[in-house]
Amino acid sequence: MTKPRTVAATEPVVLDARSDAWLAALRDTGAGKDEAVGQLHAMMLRVARWQVQRLRHTVGRIDADELDVLAQQAADDATIAVLGHLDDFAGRSRFTTWAFKFAVLQASVTLRRYRWRDREIPTEPQDWPYQADPGAGPDQQVAADDLAAALRAAIATALTPHQRDVLVALAINDVPIDVLAERLGTSRGALYKTLHDARIRLRTRLTDEGYEPPPSRRETAR
């Protein structure tokens, strides 16, 4: 009986049989590798198709053939990414879950970029916070208006121009972070760091002025 292999990690991790089989096949130097790569691509395509269908409503009118081309592009990119990062698989999840995340990422990014392909990035706020809420009571609306004014002032005076541009694009104008990163020639991580720093500055300013920023709920994705 073959001893299950382990992968490099902080603590030794024993792979489950299916993950072990995937890794062995994809690292094969013989003819078996072609078959394994083909199966990997089929798996990436299936997940990419599933995800583009899931996000189809976000891109407006698109015919099925064009949507499938996007899924196939995402599957191609995901397959390359999985093969390129094979040594990063730490065995802390199932191999399929690890591989699926590349397909999910590529399909999501592809659809977001498709949605914004012919659109300029708005540089001014399209919808300032705390527009009148018909369901709010008088006291709630006064408090909301007060905080809105404080937020607008903080955005105008507490942030660097770059922080303001990134915050306005991501948090007010709903520009997807991948799209903004591509347009600005930077990375998603670098933009998120800028957003994070901007949020800290806003919270600090509001706290200094006597406001108590409320805890947040999880927001649904756009």
């Binding site: 299936r46 802390r92 399929t96 995340k101 997807p176 972070i177 994070h196 927001e219």
Partner: protein, 85 residues
């Protein structure tokens, strides 16, 4: 505060709690999802993940998608998704 106002302040200020970066989120996302699916306490295993998912809509969407598809049936007609022979 109204729900609409609360949503707007959440988008502008985030949760203010410790959180992972987008890169770290992607690195640990598969483990996080598998722990969730196995009934474990994923937030204890990967601190800062929940905070990031609350603050980053793109990562949250990818988390939700992976959570929904990670347990897809291993085979569908016409496609063999099991491990290679």
């Amino acid at each position: 505060m109204t729900a609409k106002a609360h949503r707007m302040v959440s988008r502008l200020l985030g949760t203010g709690e410790p959180e992972l970066s987008c890169e770290a989120c992607f690195t640990h996302l598969d483990r996080y999802v598998d722990v969730e699916l196995s009934g474990g306490v994923a937030d204890r295993e990967i601190p800062g993940m929940a905070g990031h998912l609350a603050n980053c809509p793109a990562c949250a969407e990818e988390h939700d998608a992976l959570l929904a598809c990670a347990d897809l049936p291993p085979t569908l007609p016409g496609e063999a998704l099991g491990p290679p022979r």
